[in-house]
């Protein structure tokens, strides 16, 4: 892994980082500098992902932050806004297709912010979402990606934090500090060690 500048942070490339935050202000305080750091180098792409409308809102916040319209970058495919899908297979495919498109366009680094939801109509069911999060570790290993997955501690239920943020991300960013995550379970073990035993899937 080679290091990249994750806004104020230095993230490995590739990386899959859980951002633990409280509320929208903290989210923007971390995600916007992270994305903004990718705007100047023309070799970097930005990928905002979430429920319908969420990626667009993040992009608007980024535009406000830089003080200009980012439509040209969006039209050029340098900024991509992806949508969640209740079908986990489609959601996974959407992410892979976007990363492949970045690679095909020659971008050497992609900054990915995937805003999560739990038990939401436009998102896969929780167990499928957890599988998706774990699977992302395998997917991004083939791409030059710095991925940031915000988890709002004030909104997400405890099991989303415990099983999702802490067990599917090798790194955790909290309070501005990036740490290796000892709770992380490698994707080749996560399905059998965790997912099939999730309490709400038991008879």
């Amino acid at each position: 892994m080679t290091p990249g500048t994750g806004g104020a942070q230095t993230f490995p490339v590739p990386s899959h980082v859980a951002l633990l935050h409280n509320g929208e202000a903290e989210l923007r305080g971390a995600a916007i500098p992270f994305l903004r750091a990718g705007l100047d180098p023309p070799s970097q792409g930005l990928f905002c992902f979430g429920e319908p409308g969420v990626g667009e809102r993040l992009l608007r916040a980024l535009e406000l932050s830089v003080g200009r319209d980012l439509s040209p970058e969006y039209r050029a495919g340098r900024i991509v806004v992806g949508q969640s899908d209740p079908d986990v297979d489609r959601q996974l495919e959407n992410v892979i297709a976007a990363l492949e498109a970045f690679r095909a366009s020659g971008f050497t680094l992609v900054r990915f912010v995937g805003i999560n939801a739990w038990d939401a109509p436009a998102f896969p069911p929780p167990e499928d979402f957890l599988w998706f999060e774990s699977k992302l570790n395998e997917i991004i290993s083939a791409f030059p990606v710095m991925g940031l997955c915000p988890y709002d501690l004030g909104r997400m239920p405890a099991r989303a934090i415990a099983y999702g943020a802490l067990e599917t991300h090798p790194l955790v960013l909290s309070g501005g500090v990036l740490r290796e995550n000892p709770q992380f379970i490698a994707p080749d073990r996560y399905l059998r060690d965790r997912l099939v035993g999730l309490p709400w899937l038991q008879a």
Binding site: V88, D89, L92, E93, I96, D119, A120, P121, P124, P125, E127, D128, L130, W131, K135, P187, D188, L191, R192, L195, V196, G197, L198, P199, W200, L201, Q202, A203
Partner: protein, 209 residues
């Protein structure tokens, strides 16, 4: 026919019950006032004669639209019933499950169930499965309904492979895999890919974990 569950759309529902609707969406019977915690998403009261589909469509909240979509699926015959979770005690569950079983035999267009949350014991699951089998596929087992290819796909799902990897492994088209996965989930009566996988492990249909 599948089962369309929208319980994920209604995590905050506090009360509930059963309503029977005709094939046009009009309520013909209800056992309880429907209400929600916030009083916005769910209809505070559903008098007999209310067209539930229209009523939900008029509500601006996207979760209400999700309910309306589910209801449409029921009326169009692509789903047998749908469920909304709510909190209730065990006695209420028994009562409404029994009622639903009886009502479904009377040719109702659909039965809408507010299902209690936090009760996942075997007895409840079994009875829920019985209800689903009135019109749909069995969900207690279901492995015998899978084709050899679907069983193979289930095994690969349980090994953690995504659809692309399964397609490579079996040397078939991605879209074909996708169809197999959807079919496996539906035939097993699961709501999700991982629920199907968990069921496969639990029942010993795939190699022991």
């Amino acid at each position: 026919m599948g089962v369309y569950e929208i319980e994920r759309s209604a995590p905050d529902l506090q009360r509930g019950g059963i309503a029977v609707i005709d094939r046009h969406g009009n309520v013909t019977w209800t056992d309880e006032v429907w209400a929600s915690g916030d009083g916005q998403v769910y209809l505070p009261r559903v008098p007999i004669g209310t067209n539930l589909l229209h009523a939900y469509r008029r509500l601006p909240d996207p979760r209400a639209q999700a309910i309306a979509n589910a209801l449409s699926a029921v009326l169009e015959g692509t789903a047998t019933y749908f469920e909304i979770e709510h909190r209730a005690d065990r006695e209420s569950q028994d009562s409404f499950l029994t009622s639903v079983a009886a009502l479904r035999g009377n040719g109702a267009g659909a039965v809408l169930i507010h299902r209690p949350v936090g009760v996942r014991d075997a007895s409840y699951r079994d009875r829920q499965s019985d209800l689903r089998t009135l019109d749909g596929p069995p969900v207690g087992g279901g492995i015998d309904r899978l084709t050899p290819r679907e069983r193979e796909v289930l095994g690969l799902m349980a090994a953690g492979l995504d659809n692309r990897a399964i397609a490579l492994k079996l040397r078939i088209e991605y879209t074909t895999v996708r169809g197999h996965v959807r079919s496996v989930i539906e035939k097993l009566g699961a709501r999700s890919r991982l629920e199907a996988v968990a069921r496969a492990y639990r029942n010993g249909w795939v190699a022991n974990r």
